[in-house]
Amino acid sequence: MGLYITATYPDSATFLEVLNRTRGIVDFYEIGIPTSNPKYDGPIIRMTHFKSQLKGLEAIKIANYEKSILMGYIDDYVSSLDTVAKTAAEVGASAILFPDLLFDHFNRLNDYVVAMRRHDLRPAFFVSSKTPHRIIEKLASLEPLFIYLGLYASTGTKLPVYIERNVSIVRKLIGDTYLVTGFAVRDSSMVRALIEAGANGVVVGTAFIERMSDLGNAVEFLKELREGL
């Protein structure tokens, strides 16, 4: 199970405290690189980008992230892929996930993969339920660290979508590639259903951030979610 949190939200000290208090409860972190245009995120995650204490790559440099990944918008780094990859490697991240890569910069797919490998990072790909099947198959052939399936249209906003069916379809397309799922993960039964449908992992973000004003409660919530694994 992974935890999404935007770097230095709401401030650097709280962000570091979250990492400390959740270590051992979650298996990995997805650390958001604060951006001024988190367009494909829902209202809560957007707010964390706007209210983070530091912005851009400066925000992620305040910690080290073993067995974790960064999440950013490639819009911000189209002309500086090497810079962001180098920084990610320096802070110990395993990959950088760009949710807008395939939607907005599809022709930069190869550049992204090359830049990641140049800095000993593994590529990781964000797909939606509407991503064409043969593109998903192609992404799996690039031996990514994982493929991340966004379950809904944006983070944190649940819709009446038969997500187990969509997970199962993506699973069949990617063979044994590690499949991470996320968006609006709110309870252990949903976690269990996703794993049973073929996901290897889930990421929780919005539901944790909503509880962050009482960090103890938020940590307990993560423990409850974990029971679904």
Binding site: L102, T131, P132
Partner: protein, 412 residues
């Protein structure tokens, strides 16, 4: 009988950008759960390539006369002196006289199993409103239709027939919604537009109990249902077409016919040589002169933004007689295919379109709808240019209720 619809997003050349919320105001994506039937939201985001058609909808398809005929337009071929073979799928054979019933029966069915007592929608020329009225009568729930004012005045028969089927019809902009009232305040003579009518229908749906909004075009599940046209045509066509043509308002009739063919081409399953031509009106030329960007599908900005070819959500098209084409945007999947060069585009003035309608009527004995006549205009021009080959187009509706267009444009 076709038992599944075809979802082209599984085979598009690149991923379809997701719907997006603006930074200001409440989440439009979250609003979808309040206004749309659940199964339609699921279909908007399904990963399936083929989506099973519920048995009840299959029964209704049979009752309304599916499969529709595929005919060869030998009379038109002779009239224009071409050796090209011209085929058309006659969706005007359906009750209501247009392709709109294909998705209306599906959407009203899904609304009914979602517990809705009333469906709410917009309509331009009235084909969609009439289809919803018929589907609602068949399935047994109420229908509320906001009809663009210009059409409400000019298409009295469609208004009448919607009411015969039991629908409650209001001209848009109306004083039934806050958005309608504000539009009328700014311009008391506003001719109405699909964008305004959509906004009114959504507001009306949100404000009442047991109401669900159902859209006539643009959204992906609408195109999905309309693929019944192309899936049947693939079985009916005696040969592979060189060219597939349809008119575009929001994109559902063009996409309904062409997507199964385009999907086969994209996956290498056939139709390698086939070209695809989307034809629009000069009154709303989003595909030929619009921008590919995120924009609202409705004028009020109530729905999530979608990436599409658009003239801007506040664009007010001039009051032409092909009212079904007076829309500022085109469906995201169609827009992506146009953007990437898989679909060609063209736009026409209504005078040249209605001349083509007249020629088709005289040579084929069917009065085409003014919207469908845009496709006919392009077919005639292409047949003359090609000289040979095979053309397939969507005669998406008949024009027996469009006397105003024939009278005023052709000055008969």
């Amino acid at each position: 009988m076709i038992t599944s619809w075809y979802n082209i997003s599984a085979d598009l050349p690149r991923p379809l950008p997701p719907p997006m919320d603006p930074y200001e105001g409440d989440s439009r994506i979250a609003l979808l759960t309040r206004i749309l039937p659940s199964d339609l939201i699921d279909q908007e985001f399904t990963a399936e390539r083929y989506v099973p058609i519920p048995e009840r909808v299959q029964e209704l398809y049979e009752r309304i006369g599916r499969p529709t005929p595929l005919r060869r337009a030998r009379g038109l071929e002779r009239a224009i002196g071409t050796k090209a073979k011209i085929y058309y799928k006659f969706e005007g054979a359906l009750p209501g006289g247009s392709h709109k019933l294909n998705t209306a029966v599906a959407q009203v069915y899904y609304a009914s199993i979602d517990g809705a007592k009333e469906v709410v929608t917009e309509t331009g020329a009235g084909q969609w409103g009439l289809a919803v009225a018929i589907a609602s009568a068949l399935i047994g729930i109420n229908a509320k239709v906001f009809m663009t004012k210009n059409s409400y005045i000019n298409k009295k028969q469609r208004v009448l027939f919607m009411r015969v089927f039991g629908a409650d019809v209001s001209p848009s902009p109306s004083d039934l919604t806050e958005f309608g009232k504000s539009t009328l305040t700014k311009d008391p003579n506003h001719p109405g537009s699909l964008g305004v009518a959509i906004s009114e229908a959504i507001e009306y749906a949100v404000k009442g109990e047991g109401r669900k909004y159902i859209p006539g075009s643009v959204l992906e599940f609408v195109l999905l249902h309309q693929t019944i046209i192309g899936l049947e045509a693939m079985q009916q066509m005696p040969e592979e077409p060189d060219l597939v043509v349809g008119c575009v308002g929001g994109g559902s009739n063009f996409s309904g016919l062409s997507f199964p063919f385009i999907g086969s081409k994209l996956t290498g399953a056939g139709f390698e040589k086939t070209r695809f031509l989307a034809v629009e009106s000069n009154a709303a030329p989003k595909l030929t002169r619009g921008s590919y960007m995120y924009d609202y599908p409705d004028t009020a900005g109530t729905l999530p933004m979608i990436r599409m070819f658009t003239l801007g959500h506040d664009y007010v098209p001039p009051p032409i007689h092909a009212a079904g084409l007076r829309y500022h945007g085109a469906a995201p999947s169609l827009s992506l295919l146009v953007k990437d060069g898989y679909v060609e585009t063209r736009s026409y003035e209504q005078e040249e379109v209605m001349e083509a309608a007249r020629l088709f009527a005289k040579s084929e004995a069917i009065l085409p709808a003014p919207e469908s006549a845009h496709a006919i205009r392009a077919v005639i021009d292409e047949a003359r240019r090609m000289g040979s080959g095979t053309i397939l187009f969507n005669l998406s509706g008949h024009g027996l209720l469009d006397s105003d267009a024939y009278e005023k444009v052709l000055r008969i």
